[in-house]
Symmetry: C2
Subunit: 314 residues, 2 copies
């Protein structure tokens, strides 16, 4: 009969994480807050873990997946909008000129979101986003975006759920863009997804009620918006937070400011061979302050290159 | 050995509901959507039930509990605001003149909320609201407000949860006013509370992060706002909705517009002896359109007087 030590049993919960300080910090934290009678024990109700999405649970290079969706959507709608050929930011989108789109700034981004994410019912948008995510391929790997999720993070989500954590996504991405597939792909229920949103309105059309999406920003769930999104949507102080960029800084700061034990982890994209390598200088997913401040604050910096046995599910 | 028929076993789940058409409509719906293989079967993930709070789960007469909180809060803060003695709506609040407060309209209400619900951190507000709800008494019964919850509805919440429903509150009341006590009183977790909200901001004060509540309305979760709140917070189409006033009309309409089987129920306050009797003419919890339209749409109208064996927990 084979005898398994507790350490081996633990290790099996996170098989894609290499043994070492990073993995051990996760295991130690979970052991501490789930050990009944221990000084760091946290009851299941309060075991709230929050995960960023872009760059933390799935890839965000060479551009945010949702931006690729918006670009494709603009291209699909262009035949009905001949004026877009001469109007920014649409002109740049149609020319595939990402720098031109970026140059149109926040005003351009809002126009882009309005044209690609609004003006339809909630049900129609869910179908549009679902159809797109089912068909779109990453420009470099040719994989579906939902295949480019991080296997070690999937294991982490499952491991936390197995330890009676409530796992939420808290993303700068659009809440309704994520909800159609997070349960299938991550095992995270749509009601546990917090994100940026546009406004919407309930209305009757031909005697049938619908929720219509409006071209107006409602909430930006990024940076200092993340603790606010957590407050509004969850109403509890998380005890663990997982991010990858400075847009997650305040979420980790807020989470680890609680009086009891807490955990913060930053995924560091340092693996050019298997994924991408970027941090302080990147326009997408910039990680600068977090790299300096994280270790001082006791946050774990997970190296994609050395802490992860594999990147994507196989 | 005592043999229990299935009917008796069912009846035990809702002991404070009198046998009859109302109770049977609840039992029939739950049986239909939980019977695996049946045409109306709904998987546990999609079993979302939404409950209004004021007038549906607890009392709302002679005034909304949260308004009583706001009045008490203004009175407590008045010594620091001598100017309130001559400024509406504060002058009317301090004089106990509800009609005067009502006359100040929406502008006055926003000022009242700003002064009583904003200008402190999230933690401070939670403490203020919790302390108040622990001490305040209803002007007529002398009971705590959290004792004036409806026993039949508590049983209904438990019954749905036992049948793997996810139960949410969707209230016109303030989300953060409810969250401190909904789990203890109703068994509904704070993260499953949807409500009206004011804006808030994450900020550092003396090196310590806090969420500060701002005197600005963020979202009004009432009437047509309820389906929008459901869309934003839950991201699923409910299959059952429970309300008591025309402010719940769109929530029931939206819920029962789904293609599959659904359920809508309106609590009718027709029990002047044990609670209050009010509907079409009431300024609080007006129920007019729902009384006419509800039966035509197949919604159950629950009579507090004849369907409920008891009103409050004993």
């Amino acid at each position: 009969m084979l005898m398994l030590s507790p350490l081996v049993a633990w290790a099996d919960d996170l098989p894609s994480w290499n043994d070492g300080a990073t993995k051990q910090s996760i295991l130690d934290f979970v052991a501490a807050v789930t050990s009944a009678g221990g000084t760091d024990y946290v009851g299941p109700d309060e075991r709230v873990a929050v995960f960023d999405n872009d760059g933390t649970l799935w890839g965000e290079q060479p551009m945010y997946v949702q931006l690729a969706f918006a670009f494709d959507r603009i291209k699909a709608l262009a035949p009905d909008h001949p004026e877009w050929k001469d109007t920014e930011p649409f002109k740049s989108v149609l020319a595939g000129d990402v720098a031109g789109v970026a140059a149109s700034g926040e005003k351009g981004l809002v126009q882009l979101i309005g044209a690609s994410h609004a003006g339809m019912t909630s049900d129609d948008f869910t179908k549009i986003a679902s159809d797109w995510i089912g068909a779109a391929k990453h420009p470099k790997t040719g994989k579906s975006y939902t295949e480019m999720v991080y296997q070690p993070m999937l294991e982490l989500v499952s491991y936390l759920k197995a330890n009676d954590f409530k796992v939420f996504i808290v993303s700068g991405g659009g809440i309704e863009f994520m909800r159609p597939w997070t349960q299938r792909v991550y095992g995270i229920e749509p009601e546990n997804v917090v994100g940026s949103s546009i406004k919407s309105r309930y209305e009757m059309t031909n005697g049938k009620p619908a929720i219509v999406r409006l071209p107006e920003i409602d909430f930006v769930d990024d940076g200092p918006g993340k603790p606010v999104g957590i407050y509004t949507h969850i109403g509890r102080h998380p005890i663990a937070a997982f991010g990858n960029s400075d847009g997650d800084f305040q979420m980790l700061e807020w989470t680890t400011s609680r009086p009891g034990r807490s955990f913060g982890l930053i995924v560091h994209h340092d693996d050019a061979e298997r994924e991408y390598a970027y941090d302080r200088q990147s326009h997408i997913g910039r990680l600068d302050k977090g790299l300096d401040e994280g270790p001082k604050r006791g946050w774990t910096i997970a190296s994609m290159k050395s802490d992860w046995k594999q990147v994507y599910p196989q």
